[in-house]
Amino acid sequence: MTLTAMIAKMSEGLGRTCAIFFLTLLFSLPLGLLVALMRMSKNKVLSSVTSACISVLRGTPLMLQLIAVAYGPFYLFGYTLLVKEKLLAIIIAFSLNYAAYFAEIYRGGIESMPVGQYEAAHVLGYSKHQTFMRIIMPQVVKRILPSVTNEVITLVKDTSLAFTLAYMEMFSIGKQIANSQSSFLPFVIAGVFYYVMNMIVAFVMSRCEKALSYYR
């Protein structure tokens, strides 16, 4: 198999790699905010349960969580996942895991806001919701952007974990070729793919940071 043939074959999996990446971001970013708010809730039960969930999701490997979501239904209810449900299982596992990390980033950002911002808004008559959406959140986004970039870069690389479920994204295809051709080349190609994707991520995120640099 020639190098170009390998690249062409692996590129076919890029769509699925991107699907994992974008769908995970789409669900985990808002979910993370919700989890952060639950974690900071004054309701002790809610905040301790949320905090325990975050602890488990961050304290166990994502690969294990993938396996749990994919095969758990079989051991629990005797339900075997259909092939077309694989992506769903992956997105659920990834979104929960990343939401846990994002939640802690949001929480750090929200808790770092000076109390004076809340007080100024309060005295001017802003409701809690208006204060959060207009005054707090826009500033939090700016503060947490570098930490979010870190997670997003990790996510690009973590998409390769989908090979655990034999989901044919770019890395799983590469692994297959490597086995059948007894070649190391597919791993090199995969490395280049991930690196290029992360260059794009870093570029986009630095653009975002620049767009928010109009104030301090």
Binding site: H122, V123, G125, I135, Y215
Partner: protein, 251 residues
């Protein structure tokens, strides 16, 4: 007619009494200064009056409307809607400005009147620009807070409070975060407001300013009003031992 009436206000922090039986009435057009050492409770009093802190006992009224009433020594707050209404009576200027850093100067001033008071955009912008002109910041409406000096930021925050057309203004040590040069420009703004008969309560460490601008001065220590009255008398000829001691450095 009195704008603000605080009666028998009490406040504890972790069992320690920081305000004990404080009563204060502010009439329309009156300027009241509160002086005293750090930890005397003067800022806490201001925060209770502006509903940022809840008092444990006592009553609070604005323009005759009850925000807090006393029931057997316990403070009972009015409903959420009533408090929202009452909050429009007053404005507060903070020690460290608390401008919204992600908003331009103009947006800092105009958002609340439009969003909260639902006032007409053209009218609010006109009001905001008039206020900025008055504050000597007519050319800075598009600047962001970080681009301004401390004194300019404080003037914007005064404009932000005034844009809500409050019946009275509170100042919580408005010059304590500023160097002496910038302090002067803020004191001048407050003097101008006093000349326009704006009703104000000012917590300050600027004794000469308190004496010159106020109609009434309170000296607080240990959570009580030790002495109050005519500014000249309090600051130049205090009668209480504690006041004399506190002002000895100044006099």
């Amino acid at each position: 007619m009195n704008i603000l009436k605080i009666a028998h206000c009490r406040k504890q922090f972790d069992g320690k009494e920081v305000l004990s039986d404080i009563s204060l009435t502010v009439d329309e057009g009156q300027v009241v200064s509160i002086i005293g050492p750090s930890g005397s409770g003067k800022s806490t009093l201001l925060r209770c009056a502006t509903l940022l802190e809840t008092m444990d006992g006592g009553a609070l009224r604005y323009l005759g409307k009850s925000a807090v009433r006393d029931e057997n020594g316990r403070a009972v707050y009015a409903s959420h809607a009533e408090l929202k209404e009452i909050r429009t009576c007053f404005g507060l200027v903070f020690q460290n400005f608390n401008l919204f850093p992600h908003y331009s100067v103009l947006k800092n001033i105009t958002e609340a009147p439009m969003l909260i008071q639902k006032r007409n955009k053209a009218e609010v912008y006109e009001t905001a620009r008039d206020l900025l002109k008055k504050m000597g910041l007519a050319d800075r409406e598009d600047a962001y807070p970080y681009q301004l000096s401390g004194g300019q930021q404080q003037r914007v925050s005064i404009a932000r409070a005034l844009a809500m057309k409050p019946k009275m203004l509170f100042f919580d040590e408005p010059t304590s975060a500023l160097d002496p040069e910038l302090t002067g420009e803020i004191l001048k703004v407050i003097r101008d407001l006093a000349a326009e008969h704006m009703t104000m309560v000012i917590v300050t460490h600027e004794m000469a300013f308190a004496r010159d601008v106020s109609d009434h001065v309170l000296f607080m220590d240990g959570g009580v009003i030790v002495e109050q009255g005519n500014p000249e008398d309090i600051i130049n000829n205090p009668s209480q031992e504690r006041t004399i001691q506190f002002l000895s450095r100044f006099n």
